[in-house]
């Protein structure tokens, strides 16, 4: 999302779904995973909207939709690409929107070559490193500039590009451009303009290809194409809804890009009933990327500095945004200085670059999977688990648990005695004999945590809205909040080092760490929120909270811990605690909670008006230019400079916000427009291209390149992959499985399997299989089945159901198996069971280092799995039978003569340009 539009996060809000004329839910089972939010889909349907669900399984979402399209897991880019192809070849795009609000007219560098020219990779691929030099993807700069300069990323280190783009899809921002002097062709006819590049790229994505790859018939595809195009334009809008069914892939970021391209072509961004709604699965998962407990980010999507490229504040700021580009990221220095002032107070001065060097520096991927592998090498002593249980909830549970056993000390803070806290006495590896309790050296501290009603604070929910929850009662027993624990821990650490003269301790000792406390000694969450919001430090307004991030100054006269949250404490009032009843407000409900940025509920809403500032239609009026009052107005807070008229054209040499034209709606983008084509910022391609998942029963019919050439693979004896496609041994794992959630449980079960009500509703781990697959393998409804991958085998109750249907893809019948992943072994939960996540290996998307957990291959057999050490032998025998080695699945580049280069379907290549 960041790469396409400039900001991460859902672009609209749940209630706005009611205004959609068509809703496509893809990669999400909204009715079961976000049931209360789904009421707005039903409102839309009651108003006549068409609801389409594209998903491997028939779920309650499908049952309530007008249309369910079963699709092979891992093939969504082909489906989305075919919709793009339909839109472009049938001229169904919103011409005026595309021309003015996207980069369609920009010319791409002469050096750019597409995947069809290079058998499955874009130009710039280095097979040695498995990475791209992305300079050839850049725009074609104007004559007075050297060609290829506009992308501006060619001279950057890979680490730097990685850190920035990693931020994008976790909610980050538009990538930097050196400047915006780019060659354009307003007729969209130039062969190198983005529009024509896009058109050629997707020409191969035909209905026949969709049938071949996705198992979706041409009629089903055409039906969806007609629905979304006839429900888009001036008078109508379509919304796309996704969740982790899209992000959990080696090409997850590109899935989302696919829908971004469609929504830009159809002119649905920034408009009511339009946009892309990312549904998040945790109460504050949006908040935990905004104020990130993520290695690569600082609050407000500022990157964590990277050694070598961010060694000084000047270098750091220059890497975030070029001073010559457009948009608000040119204020990165201001946002950074305010953060540093919030953290280091008086110790952060203009003379010392506001203590920029107090920030530790990254040098590569320090994500959670990299961390676990470091644990296994005994490179990490201590680990804090804060309301999260990797022993069950992360991919490859065995690797996670073995990692925990390598720690010196482990702190688990949770509501219940979760499996990550008890792995040392009752984890699956104790049963297999891989671990012995008496030999595990890990010290384990279990702290009971406070529940949401036992503390004050804000959650940021799926539509970027902060809502304050009030403390109702004191936490029971020894329980305490994270706020209280970390505040106390910080005090203890500072006391221990108070006399230190070591330079390394200055950041800790100079840290602002003084919050008012209540009668129990617990810090005030409201005081922390006020620090996050920011405050004037000097002058007349000293002590006055900031009203917006526009009040932030780069000179140290203001501070603010997270610039995008500035305004949540405007006027000294906790805006997130506002609870004016919905029925007493407009449908936008701007006085319930507070949404970042600046309480805007639909992002890029300048695009709800035409270039002249008039609504595209009365029916879809949302934000428009009021020529009498000479300002933007409407139902929402305009996502635009209030007084900048539509006719505004920047003077020569303008930069930053001043360089944004009056009709540049994507104000965080380096060129003010939505990106159909990403000339920079992504590591795996400027346009989504189809690759098969890491494990797939079929060969990629499009080119020799089987899976994403930039996916992150880990060739390790504890991380074997199943063979794919035509590789020998692939037939040993002929089925596809996908993992998912149930309504009655929450992720790894830490907040649901301990509750008798919920445990009773969904007591046991089960697998969904089709009647055809049940017959093929002799599976009996309510009996047991064992599911096997190269990592392990798990057992589940069998649910034979026609909710999953076999599909024909790659010339084969493909059976898909659904596995809810809520159970775990060990702990003292009311219900336990094998964990679906144990089946998964670790293979990651290169942009965001997220694992591919929504699709893999497996075998399934009737009956229960072997117990004890026999389980290890059983899985080893499978690996042997399939001929699995450390190289299996880990070859990044497949050439025509390579292991994966076997038979290709010739028919589909006819669609190539």
């Amino acid at each position: 999302m960041g790469a396409s539009f400039g900001r991460g996060g859902a672009t609209g809000f749940l209630q706005d779904l009611q205004n959609a004329d068509c809703i496509v839910i893809q990669g999400s089972n909204m009715a079961e995973c976000h049931p209360v939010g789904f009421q707005w889909v039903m409102e839309a349907k009651a108003r006549g909207a068409r609801v389409i669900h594209v998903d491997p399984r028939f779920t309650r979402t499908s049952a309530l939709a007008d249309t369910h399209v079963p699709i092979r897991a891992g093939s969504d880019i082909v489906f989305l690409g075919a919709i793009i192809n339909y839109i472009v070849s049938n001229e169904k795009y919103f011409h005026e929107y595309v021309l003015n609000y996207t980069n369609a007219a920009n010319l791409v560098s002469k050096d750019f070559q597409d995947v069809d020219d290079l058998d499955g990779v874009f130009s710039g691929y280095d097979p040695q490193t498995g990475k791209y030099d992305t300079s050839s993807w850049a725009y074609d700069a104007n004559d007075d500039e050297p060609a290829g300069d506009a992308g501006g990323q060619g001279d950057e280190s890979e680490e730097s590009a990685s850190s920035r783009s990693a931020g994008h899809e976790l909610g980050g921002h538009g990538a930097a451009l050196e400047h915006t002097k780019v060659k354009r062709d307003e007729t969209l006819q130039h062969p190198r303009c983005v529009f024509q590049v896009l058109k050629r790229h997707y020409a191969r994505y035909t209905p026949e290809l969709v049938q071949e790859v996705c198992g979706v018939t041409p009629e089903q595809l055409l039906d969806v194409c007609e629905a979304v195009t006839s429900n888009s334009g001036r008078e109508r809008t379509t919304t796309w809804v996704y969740s982790v069914g899209w992000t959990h892939h080696t090409v997850g970021v590109q899935y989302i890009r696919g829908s971004a391209i469609i929504q830009l072509l159809l002119g649905n961004m920034g408009r009511p009933g339009g946009g892309i709604l990312a549904l998040r699965g945790h109460a504050s998962i949006q908040g935990s990327t905004d104020i990130p407990t993520l290695y690569n980010l600082l609050p407000g999507y500022l990157p964590m500095p990277m050694v070598g490229t961010h060694d000084s504040l000047d270098e750091y700021v220059a890497q975030i945004a070029s001073p010559d580009q457009k948009g608000f990221w040119t204020n990165a220095r201001t946002y950074t200085v305010n953060l540093l002032k919030a953290w280091w107070g008086d110790a952060a001065t203009a003379e010392n670059d506001f203590a920029f060097d107090y920030l530790p520096k990254l040098s590569g991927d320090h994500g959670t999977y990299a961390t676990v592998m470091s644990m296994l090498k005994d490179e990490i002593d201590g680990y804090f688990l804060l309301g999260q249980t990797p022993a069950v909830g992360s991919a490859h549970g065995r690797m996670q648990r073995l990692g925990l056993a390598h720690l010196k000390w482990l702190v688990v803070r949770d509501l219940n005695l979760i499996e990550s806290a008890t792995f040392w006495k009752d984890g699956p590896e104790i049963e297999t004999g891989e671990l012995r309790t008496e030999e595990i050296d890990t010290e384990v501290f279990f702290f009971p945590a406070a529940a949401h009603v036992e503390k004050d604070g804000t959650f940021t929910q799926t539509q970027r809205m902060l809502q304050w929850h009030h403390k109702a009662v004191e936490p029971p027993g020894d329980a305490q909040s994270e706020l209280a624990f970390f505040y106390l821990l910080g005090q203890k650490l500072r006391q221990r080092l108070a006399d230190s003269t070591d330079e390394r301790d200055r950041p800790l000792l100079d840290l602002t760490w003084d919050y008012p406390v209540d009668e129990h000694g617990d810090p005030s969450a409201e005081a922390v929120l006020a620090e996050i919001n920011g405050v004037h430090l000097t002058g007349e307004k000293a002590g006055v909270p900031l009203s917006t991030f526009n009040e932030m100054k780069p000179d140290g006269s203001t501070s603010g811990g997270c610039w995008i949250y500035a305004g949540v404490y405007a006027d000294g009032v906790n805006q997130s605690a506002r609870r004016k009843p919905g029925r007493e407000q407009s449908w936008v409900a701007p006085e319930w909670g507070w949404a970042w940025p600046a309480n805007r509920r639909i992002l890029y809403n300048r695009a709800a008006a035409d270039p002249d500032g008039k609504p595209w239609s009365e029916r879809k009026a949302y934000v428009w230019w009021d020529s009498e009052q000479e300002k933007w107005t409407g139902h929402d807070v305009p996502d635009f400079e209030l007084k900048k008229p539509p006719s505004y054209r920047p003077p020569e040499g303008a930069a930053g916000p001043a360089a944004l034209r009056g009709d540049d709606p994507f104000i965080m983008q380096a060129d003010g427009v939505g990106w159909l084509y990403a000339p920079t910022g992504l590591l795996d391609g400027p346009l989504p291209a189809h690759y098969e998942p890491q494990e797939s029963p079929i060969s990629n019919p499009m080119y020799s390149q089987q899976a994403s050439p930039t996916r992150e693979v880990f060739s390790r004896t504890d991380n074997y992959s199943n063979p794919s496609g035509d590789e020998p041994g692939a037939e040993v794992f002929p089925y596809v499985f996908t993992t998912y959630r149930l309504t009655e449980h929450h992720t790894a079960g830490g907040m649901s399997r301990w509750q008798p009500f919920l445990a009773e509703l969904q007591p046991e781990f089960f697998c969904e299989v089709s009647p055809e697959l049940a017959r093929q393998r002799g599976l009996v409804n309510n009996g047991w089945a064992t599911i096997i991958t190269a990592r392990t085998a798990v057992e589940a109750r069998v649910l034979v159901t026609d909710r999953v249907v076999p599909l024909r893809a790659g010339g084969k019948e493909i059976h898909q198996i659904g596995l809810p992943y809520h159970w775990g072994i060990g702990g003292d939960a009311v219900v336990t069971g094998d964990s679906a996540n144990d089946l998964l290996g670790v293979t990651l998307d290169p942009n965001v280092h997220i694992q591919e957990s929504k699709v893999a291959s497996c075998d399934i057999q009737p009956g229960r799995r072997p117990r004890g050490p026999a389980l290890l032998d059983y899985v080893a025998a499978y690996r042997k039978r399939a001929g699995i080695t450390l190289d299996t699945g880990n070859e990044l580049r497949n050439l025509a003569s390579g292991a994966n280069g076997g038979s290709r379907s010739g028919g589909v290549k006819e669609g190539a340009s």
């Binding site: 209630q15 995973c33 209360v36 976790l170 109460a283 504050s284 998962i285 935990s288 407990t293 993520l294 600082l298 050694v307 953290w343 060097d357 530790p360 520096k361 961390t371 990490i380 680990y383 688990l385 804060l386 309301g387 999260q388 909830g393 000390w409 509501l415 219940n416 006495k425 595990i440 010290e443 384990v444 501290f445 279990f446 009971p448 529940a451 949401h452 804000t458 959650f459 539509q463 809502q467 929850h469 009030h470 109702a472 305490q480 994270e482 821990l489 910080g490 203890k492 080092l497 390394r504 950041p507 929120l529 620090e531 009843p581 919905g582 929450h746 907040m751 649901s752 509750q755 965001v848």
Partner: protein, 189 residues
């Protein structure tokens, strides 16, 4: 004669004569049910909250009596949820009050086969000591080219998507000041 003890009190009569012809409300209510008072009526106070499960962010009303949570209901004022809660949200009273919930600080020593009780203050002191030692043991001043890193690889953290923004803010702030960078949460998973 007590009119309530006659056939006039039969549900079918009440259904036909009263304002509940479909027999879904008052007409079929027994005297026993009528005598029950909802926990929400007798609560000492109602506190506004937000559901802690998925990210829809449904409004909750927390009913408290004698300083204990007795019920959690949907908040009809919320423009997002309009008073509704899903099965998890409806069961969130039990998340707070379940007898199986862990409320005791526990410690497992190296190679031990059992938990032992320990005070929170003592445990926090032990962790602070270990953090300082591990931080120092795995400290990196510079990389191999002499460029400043100012960091420790000695500790890591995972979690945050279920926590408050204010909590995540203090966590990120403290770990960053310590030089610890391997701080992650569910958003990567």
């Amino acid at each position: 004669m007590d009119i309530r003890k006659t056939f006039l009190e039969w549900p079918v009569v009440r259904q036909l004569t009263g304002g509940d012809p479909l027999g879904r409300g008052a007409a079929v209510q027994s005297a026993h049910t009528k005598a029950i008072t909802a926990r929400t009526k007798t609560a000492d106070r109602v506190v506004r909250s937000v559901c802690p499960y998925c990210a829809v962010g449904c409004g909750q009303r927390v009913f408290v009596k004698d300083e204990k949570v007795v019920q959690i209901e949907g908040d009809p004022d919320s423009p997002v949820s309009r008073g509704r809660l899903c099965p998890k949200g409806s069961a969130s009273t039990q998340l707070v009050t379940s007898p199986g919930r862990a409320t005791t600080m526990l410690y497992r020593a190296p190679r031990s086969t059992t938990w032992q009780r320990i005070g929170v203050e003592e445990a926090t002191d032990m962790i602070a000591d270990r953090m300082i030692e591990s931080r120092s043991r795995r400290w990196q001043d510079t990389d191999e080219q002499g460029r400043p890193l100012r960091r420790t690889m000695g500790m890591a953290a995972l979690g945050g998507a279920t926590l408050d923004n204010e909590e995540n803010y203090l966590i990120k702030k403290l770990f960053t000041a310590l030089g610890a960078i391997q701080i992650e949460n569910q958003a990567r998973i």
